[in-house]
């Protein structure tokens, strides 16, 4: 599996996801600079975390309108899988690849900590490495991860099995205490109609190395490799 990581000025978790993909695939991902709209073909496009263009405007808003995102959208339309993590989720949401928006955390503060996620579906290339209902522990690190969409959209997402992850307690309860950024219906990650585009706020890439506290993110990348190899 060959992955391409899109690097914007201000991206800062590109190396984390590079390392995780490298560990999972044995192959170094490509890095595509934001001006490189005709970057090489790949089996997976990753938009990593960070502060693209500084995010001085709404998070992800500038990057969503960059020329390379036009190329990403074209490829996504042809079925090339796209993964947006953290700032990547904000960018692909702003770019219209996924419904909804990421608002400022309800605490108005940046959160960096481990959270528990309930895997809502195993029916996607991103989540097939897990069982539906499985609880995993991965870190979050964001200031604007408060997912919002209107009720009709949320009902549709849920009806179509497009909610990939929800914040939960260690025991798997979908309580408010575990949902500190305030996301509607505890949603941490969503899929597009074809389930080939995933956006999520947490960082499975930072939970793939036993030394760093959790390996629960390994299933994420192992599943992707299985699906796309």
């Amino acid at each position: 599996m060959q992955a391409a990581i899109i690097v914007f000025p201000g991206s800062n978790r590109e190396q984390d996801v590079f390392d995780a993909l490298h560990r999972a695939t044995g192959k170094k991902p490509l890095k595509a600079w934001h001006r490189d709209s005709d970057f090489p073909k790949s089996d997976l496009i990753v938009i990593p975390g960070g502060f693209s263009y500084g995010d001085y405007l709404r998070c992800g808003a500038m990057a969503a309108h960059s020329p390379i995102m036009r190329a990403v959208k074209e490829r996504a339309a042809k079925g090339v899988p796209v993964l947006g993590i953290c700032n990547g989720f904000q960018i692909i949401t702003e770019a219209g690849l996924l419904p909804g928006a990421l608002l400022t955390n309800q605490t108005l503060k940046f959160h960096c900590k481990d959270v528990h996620l309930k895997v809502e579906t195993s029916q996607s290339i991103f989540t097939r490495g897990y069982n539906a209902g499985q609880v995993i522990r991965v870190p979050v690190a964001h200031h604007d991860g408060n997912y919002f969409a209107d009720a009709a959209t949320l009902d549709r997402l849920e009806g179509e099995g497009r909610v990939a992850f929800r914040y939960c307690s260690e025991a798997g309860e979908l309580d408010t205490a575990s949902n500190s950024n305030g996301s509607v219906r505890n949603i941490a990650g969503v899929l597009n109609e074809t389930k080939t585009v995933l956006g999520l706020m947490p960082h499975p890439e930072d939970a793939t190395d036993p030394l760093l506290g959790s390996t629960d993110g390994q299933g994420f990348f192992a599943g992707l490799v299985e699906a796309l190899a």
Binding site: F51, Y53, K109, F110, H111, H143
Partner: protein, 729 residues
């Protein structure tokens, strides 16, 4: 020369004394003009010249077999093996952070990052040592909120993990908070970049952000006492742009991979002035700059303003001439300003022009070498009595423990470090909340252990002992995770050096630090001095903050403080005398700040630490915590809370219980281990005192015949204070 009364008055407005102005005139052979006077004033400010502290700083040991570059450059450099070097420094941004906490703290982080990547290192970790006034003081909450948000706002955006630090509260910081930021970077040891200019004719390049009118005279402000009108100083605080900093890091590191840079220096305090003077001074050369070529973001900026601006995210470089185009392409890729603003000359003079008009022409050498140096008078601090443990009131230990772990000093600082991205880059092995953070070196098994330490109340009570203790505790914290401590950076925060008692604190802290550094093979490789931390004549507790860096060959062998497994033996390493003078028990439980601080036996520190480190690396220790503020019972509670596992211990006979549980004797650690017999035997052979206290397990902390408290209750108390305090309006 004739007295120039008008000139003298202007010089005094610039913070120069009559004697300093006379010296400036004699160097110039005339009265300096406005721009030149501005340059003298910042170069000779306390902040830039270290004029009060230099004679004392010289006493600190700065060499060692690991030291590649000691103090004097942008940051210190040590060898960590495999052709790699750790580059690090800690620096204060105290005054700006008090005036405008968000921007003051943010730009403090930005400045220290630049000091480190200027030398060719990729920053891999940030830490910060914060000291605020009393929680009851009306400004404290606002300052905590702003400083923490500023540090996070900058560090999170540039993508460097903020992995550790400390935070405490004391009324002496009511009008003068301390914000000390530390950055650690990683470089190839054969690719370190220095700041000495070389090669007359080489181009002088300005890169980074544009210059504005912000921060003019920041260095001078940081070199004077505060007074009630400090709010009006807000325009001297700079504004940070972490996005530009991130681009600057990437662009500089990309250029540094090429063979293009002769010298490089960041524009920190005193901006273009100090960077150009230092580069020329270190190279023994001159510079001729055309200030009309400096990228500016405001109209009609004068030479004076351009030279004194402290706009952030800027660097000055001297390039090999044939590499100019390559460098320009790299900076254009990163969309940063790149301007050739002058040439290196062999005249030894700093010549500043605006187009064809000469705005300043001054000799560089004397500006640096003839900077004033003061041996300020000092008086030793009064000696405080040793308090007898048996004379100090004993309270119920469980109630005292609850008071201590819920007091502002010891309450969990999770509210702070969860606002910092401490995981980005993917190498944080030991996260904030322990004795030291552990950050793995990318692509290697080895890791750096990092911590900041100081116990200001000890330094106030006995500066020499306090200075010694700060270094010893830093060494102990790195040892407690299994690392070999290699070197330190020091951030000396003190009051007004013109007062002999303050100068005495400074001198004696240095003396204590010197002894500890020598005994522990722990040299000082970089540092920063922040004086005049006073408001309306009232000084802070002397605070020599120590930033320590250690190395562990295999990150997987590092241990944390969390008690995770039941059935392990809890063992105390080191001797306990029950010293309660200046302890937190005395202050927080009995409301007394009295007595002498605990003595520091450096030989015992060394022996105990070296022994323990060996045991950790050999895999014989499953959890370890150094004993410091609050003593043994607090440490045990912290271990239980971190791992969610309780413990049951017995207090030995022959020592007052409160002294045993809350005494702050030094050179001690608490460990959990699976094979206590083997470990005690090894300790005995090494001449290290150990004491078996009990076993881990259960969900409570139990002290035989005294009482118990559940780990859940401990956590509730420990976690509540800071979020509750910050939520109060």
């Amino acid at each position: 020369m004739k007295l120039d009364q008008a000139g003298l008055e202007e010089a005094q407005k610039h913070g120069l004394s009559a004697e300093e102005y006379a010296r400036a005139r004699s160097i110039m052979g005339r009265s300096p003009n406005h721009t030149e006077l501005g340059i003298f004033s910042v170069m000779w400010s306390e902040h830039c010249s270290y004029k009060s502290s230099k004679v004392w700083l010289k006493k600190l040991p700065t060499t060692g077999k690991r030291v590649i570059c000691g103090p004097g450059e942008n940051a210190g450099v040590i060898d960590i093996g495999d052709g790699e070097a750790a580059i690090f420094k800690m620096e204060s941004h105290n005054h700006p952070s008090f005036i405008e906490p968000y921007q003051g703290a943010a730009t403090g982080v930005g400045g220290i990052l630049r000091d480190v990547f200027t030398m060719g290192a990729r920053p891999i970790a940030n830490l910060n040592a914060l000291r605020f006034g009393s929680p009851d003081h009306p400004k404290t909450r606002h300052l905590v909120a702003g400083v923490v948000k500023g540090i996070g706002g900058y560090g999170n955006c540039v993508g460097v993990p903020t992995v550790g630090g400390e935070c405490e509260f004391h009324p002496s910081y009511n009008g003068n908070i301390l914000v000390n930021a530390m950055t650690v970077g990683l470089a190839r040891s054969d690719r370190i970049f220095y700041s000495a200019a070389a090669g007359p004719g080489n181009p002088v390049i300005y890169v980074g952000a544009k210059t504005g009118r912000d921060g003019i005279h920041g260095a001078t402000m940081a070199s004077a006492e505060f007074s009630a009108d400090n709010e009006s100083k807000r325009p001297t605080v700079q504004v940070g742009d972490p996005f530009t900093e991130k681009l600057l890091i990437e662009a500089c590191l990309e250029l540094m991979a090429e063979d293009a840079i002769v010298a490089i220096q960041d524009m920190g305090a005193a901006g273009l002035t100090s960077s150009s003077v230092e580069m020329a001074g270190k190279g023994g050369l001159g510079l001729e700059l055309d200030l009309s070529q400096v990228p500016v973001r405001e109209e009609k900026m004068t030479a004076y303003e351009i030279m004194l601006s402290e706009s952030q995210e800027r660097m000055l470089m001297i390039l090999k001439p044939e590499r100019e185009n390559l460098a320009r392409r790299i900076f254009e890729k990163w969309e940063l300003d790149f301007a050739v603003i002058g040439r290196v000359t062999d005249t030894g003079r700093l010549v500043l022009k605006m187009g064809n008009t000469v705005e300043a022409d001054m000799p560089v050498g004397p500006l640096v070498t003839e900077a004033p140096l003061y041996e300020r008078p000092w008086t030793p601090s009064p000696t405080l009595p040793d308090l007898k443990t048996q004379d100090i009131e004993a309270r119920d230990p469980i109630a005292a423990l609850k008071t201590l772990i819920g007091c502002p000093h010891l309450a969990s600082k999770r509210w702070i470090w969860e606002q910092y991205d401490h995981l980005v880059m993917g190498h944080t092995v030991q996260r904030p909340g322990g004795d030291a953070a552990v950050v793995r070196i990318p692509g290697r098994k080895k890791a750096l252990a990092l911590a900041t330490d100081c116990t200001p109340r000890y330094c106030a009570a006995d500066p020499k002992r306090g200075g010694m203790q700060a270094v010893a505790e830093s060494w102990r914290n790195l040892t407690a995770v299994g690392a070999l401590p290699l070197a330190i950076t020091d951030n000396m925060n003190f009051g007004n050096p013109e007062r002999p008692e303050i100068m005495g604190q400074f001198a004696l802290c240095i003396e204590g630090m010197r002894e500890a550094c020598l005994a522990l093979d722990y040299p000082v490789v970089s540092g920063n001095v922040s004086l005049y931390n006073e408001t309306n004549g009232s000084g802070i507790l002397p605070t020599p903050a120590i930033g320590g860096v250690g190395l562990i060959d295999d990150a997987a062998k590092s241990v944390g403080l969390a008690l995770k497994r039941p059935g392990e033996t809890i063992m105390l390493i080191g001797e306990t005398k029950g010293h309660l003078g200046q302890s937190l028990y005395l202050r927080e439980v009995l409301g007394r700040e009295e007595g002498s601080p605990p003595p520091v036996d450096l030989a015992a520190e060394r022996k105990n630490g070296d022994f323990l480190r060996g045991q950790i690396v050999a895999g014989a220790v499953s959890a370890c915590h150094d004993l410091s503020d609050g003593g043994l019972l607090v440490a045990l509670a912290e271990m239980a809370m971190a791992g969610g596992t309780g413990a049951a211990i017995v207090v030995p006979a022959g020592i007052p219980t409160h002294g045993f549980l809350f005494g702050e004797d030094q050179a001690r650690y608490l460990i959990a281990c699976a094979d206590p017999k083997k470990l005690s035997a090894a300790a005995k052979a090494a001449g290290v005192a150990t004491l078996t206290l009990g076993q881990s397990g259960g969900d409570s902390l139990t002290i035989k015949d005294i009482g118990a408290i559940s780990v859940r209750e401990l956590r509730r108390i420990n976690e509540a204070w800071l979020p509750d305090y910050m939520a109060t309006r």
